[in-house]
Symmetry: C2
Subunit: 208 residues, 2 copies
């Protein structure tokens, strides 16, 4: 399309970014080459550094540069609570509330049968093995000797997130684990008149 193979290659490459189509990619490429070549090199170096150094935490599956992430390694955290989230961004949102002192498990995705994402793709078995460990004879530990006493499901309140929470809840309850879900209700600061009906109905049912 343009007069430069390097420019066309860059435009093609930028389309790998989520939510970026042909026109956005071309705009980004023009902007970087015209106005911000240092920024372009900064992005390139950051990408290479991150690809080379970022891996998954062996315990909670989040992205980290260590074998065990700083949250899992923190002795101050309550190890009897495990909060299940979809992404590190969701984990960060929960951390910003400063209202939770337990550990996390990051699914790195959600069940989405239409996109071909099944239980094995988001590491559900790793979660189950973490919550209900087995002894040397391969038998599940009884509830009283398990470290994790409560699993808090904090997947998103979308169709896929709800389905993921449902599948996890079913599987863990059948293993005798206490499973809870983030409360549904009216957001802080909102006026009832402008809140959608489903949210109000949930808030009514879950009133306290």
């Amino acid at each position: 399309m343009s007069d430069s193979n390097a420019l066309d290659g860059l435009t093609q490459a930028l389309r790998k970014l989520p939510g970026v189509g042909a026109k956005s990619a071309a705009r980004m490429a023009f902007h970087l080459l015209q106005h911000d070549k240092p920024g372009a090199l900064q992005i390139a170096r950051a990408l290479e550094h991150a690809v080379g150094s970022v891996k998954h935490c062996a315990l909670c599956n989040t992205l980290t540069e260590q074998d065990i992430c700083s949250t899992c390694a923190n002795p101050q955290r309550d190890r009897s609570q495990l909060c299940v989230v979809e992404t590190p961004a969701d984990q960060a949102a929960l951390e910003r509330t400063q209202a939770y002192r337990g550990l996390y498990f990051v699914l790195m995705g959600k069940l989405s049968p239409l996109d071909g994402v099944g239980p094995n793709d988001i590491g559900l078995q790793i979660l189950f093995d973490r919550v209900v460990p087995r002894n040397e004879r391969g038998e599940p530990l009884p509830a009283e000797s398990r470290e994790v006493q409560e699993v808090i499901l904090a997947t998103n309140f979308t169709a896929e997130g709800e389905a993921t929470a449902h599948v996890i809840a079913q599987a863990l309850k059948s293993r005798g684990v206490q499973v809870t879900r983030l409360a549904r209700g009216v957001p802080v600061g909102s006026e009832l008149e402008y809140v959608d009906l489903g949210t109000i109905a949930h808030a009514l049912v879950d009133r306290r």
Copy 2:
């Protein structure tokens, strides 16, 4: 915010992209590291290659890897017509019409006093020197011995684009150059009922 400096660095770097804020940048970083590490490396290499090899065409100012871009170097093009556009993307749109056989001049921007973009920032002097060259004694060539006989203004029909076209037209007309502007009118395929009033008014005035 996250457990990884490399991840935070990547998120910061991706905010250099136009139209990408903190949340989009985090989503892009997570997506690349989780699902598309080869894509991340491809973007990094494309950025480095483009920054190292892409420069401005000495004649038309567009982005190219050669000293003179392939359009300017093409002997088949009509050298008496010069079409002024804001960006290489606009040039590409005109090329796709296959309705223009002349040369281009790419401003790489538009006059925008509010953003501090003045005539010198978008290379207007280069354009004027191109259209009205000077002889050895520093005098402007007379109209009959100039290569460019017509300048077609194809800046965007936004406030800044119109202002840019106006400034260029004034300057070139005072030097005796024939200056034209892309026609304003009703877009192909549209129904009058849904066309805005300004466009219909222009189409009426410019009827042919």
